[in-house]
Amino acid sequence: MHELSICSSMLGIVRDNAAGRKVRAVHVRIGEMRQIVPDTLTYCWSLVTEQSELEGVELLVERIPAKIRCTGCGHEQLLNELAFICGTCSSSAVDLIEGDEFLITSLDLAGV
C-alpha cells in the first residue's frame, strides 16, 4: 500500500542522512502488522532511484514478526494466528510489543 510514495519519502531521508556520501545499501525495518509488501517496496525503490545518484542502491528489508505480551502473566509470544489472546493464561489483555515498526534503521556508506 503506497509503496511508491513511501519510497519517495525514503529517498529524502536517505539523502538527508548520506549528506553527499556514496550509499551502498539502505536498511529498512518493517513490522508484520504494517500493510506494506516488501517485494513491492524494493521494486518501487528501484523505480524511484533509477537514473539518480542512488541508482543501484540496495534496499534491505528486515521483517519483524508480530509479537504480543500478556499484561496479566507477562508471557510473550509470536502472533502466529491472528488472535490477540495469551497462549498461557488465555487473557485477552495483551499488548502488541513488536510488529508495528516502519523505519529506516541505517545506511551502508562507501568507506573513505
Binding site: 519517495s8 531521508i13 525495518r29 528486515e62 534503521t105 541505517s106 551502508d108 562507501a110 568507506g111
Partner: protein, 275 residues
C-alpha cells in the same frame, strides 16, 4: 499517486526519537534476522561504514499530526477520525449526529473524499462548519486522508468556536488506518452487510479504532448474518474495543454514539482543566 517528501527546503529531522509505538530493537536480542542482516557491525572490511538513521518513515506525517493535535488542544476541540469502507454509513451517521448534537456541542466536519462534494452537501443545514477536501484536487487522488491534508482543511474552520471536530475519512478499510491525522480518538463504522470475517481480513483497521459502530443493524432480519460470529472475530483481533450497535437509518443507537462523543469531549476538558 502519492505525495512526495522533500528535504530540499532545509528542514531538519530531529533525531531524539520519542517512539510512542515503536520499540527499540537494540534492547531485544531475540528476534529472527534474515541472513544478510545484522552481520558484522564493526567489520567494514569491504570498505563500508554503517550510519545509524533510526528514522520512522511516517515521521513527517506524525509531526504534522502532533501539530494538528496541539491546535485542537489550544482551541479546546476534541477531534475524532471516522473511518469505514465505502457505503458503511459514515455520512448518514454523521447527519443524524449533527441533528442530535445541535445545541449540545458545536461541531465541525473535515470531509474527505477523492471526488465530489456530495457528502459535504448532505451534511449541510445542521449548523456544522464543514471543510471539504477532495484528494483528487491537489493531493494526487489519495485514497486516504493524512495529517497534512487535514491541516490544510483546518484553516477553513473556526476552531476557536468548535467543541468537536469529526474527520470523515475516505471510504477505505486499508490505508486510513496507517495515517495519524491528529485526532484524539478513532471511530470505525462497520455495517452488517459487510460480512462477519471483516475483522480478520482488516485487522489493522479494526485495531486502530477506539470504537466500532455496528451499523445497519435493522437489516439483520433480511440477511444471512451471524452477529455473534462477527463479535467473536472482532474480539480475536481487538479484544475489549468499545462497540455500539446502531442504525443511522432508524435512529437506533445514535443517542449512545452521541453520548460517547460528548463523554470524550468532557474527559478531554477535565484533563485540560487539571493540566
Amino acid at each position: 499517486m502519492g505525495r512526495f517528501h522533500r528535504h530540499d527546503d532545509g528542514h531538519q529531522h530531529h533525531h531524539d526519537h520519542d517512539h510512542d509505538h515503536e520499540h527499540d530493537h537494540d534492547h531485544l536480542p531475540d528476534h529472527p534476522h534474515p541472513d544478510h542482516e545484522h552481520g558484522d557491525h564493526s567489520g567494514y572490511a569491504t570498505g563500508t561504514e554503517r550510519v545509524v538513521v533510526l528514522e520512522r518513515i511516517f515521521e513527517e506525517n506524525d509531526q504534522t499530526a502532533a501539530a494538528n493535535r496541539r491546535d485542537f488542544d489550544d482551541a479546546g476541540v476534541t477531534a475524532v477520525n471516522l473511518m469505514s469502507s465505502p457505503g458503511a454509513g459514515k455520512t448518514t451517521l454523521l447527519r443524524e449526529t449533527l441533528r442530535l448534537l445541535q445545541g449540545r456541542l458545536a461541531v465541525g466536519i473535515v470531509e474527505g473524499d477523492i471526488e465530489t462534494s456530495i457528502d459535504a452537501d448532505r451534511l449541510d443545514g445542521f449548523g456544522a462548519a464543514i471543510s471539504l477536501i477532495n484528494t483528487a484536487n491537489g493531493f494526487g487522488g489519495e485514497c486516504h486522508l493524512d495529517a497534512p491534508m487535514v491541516r490544510s482543511a483546518l484553516s477553513r474552520l473556526p476552531l476557536a468556536e468548535l467543541d468537536l471536530l469529526i474527520v470523515e475519512n475516505v471510504g477505505n478499510l486499508v490505508c486510513p488506518a496507517e495515517f495519524d491525522v491528529g485526532s484524539h480518538a478513532n471511530a470505525m463504522v462497520y455495517s452488517v452487510t459487510e460480512g462477519e470475517e471483516k475483522p480478520l481480513k482488516y485487522p489493522v483497521m479494526f485495531r486502530s479504532a477506539d470504537l466500532v459502530v455496528v451499523n445497519k443493524i435493522d437489516l439483520i432480519p433480511h440477511l444471512d448474518y451471524d452477529l455473534d460470529l462477527f463479535y467473536a472475530n472482532l474480539k480475536k483481533v481487538h479484544p475489549g474495543v468499545a462497540i455500539i450497535e446502531a442504525s443511522a437509518r432508524t435512529g437506533l443507537g445514535i443517542d449512545r454514539w452521541c453520548d460517547w462523543l460528548c463523554e470524550l469531549h468532557r474527559e478531554r476538558h477535565a484533563e485540560k482543566a487539571i493540566g
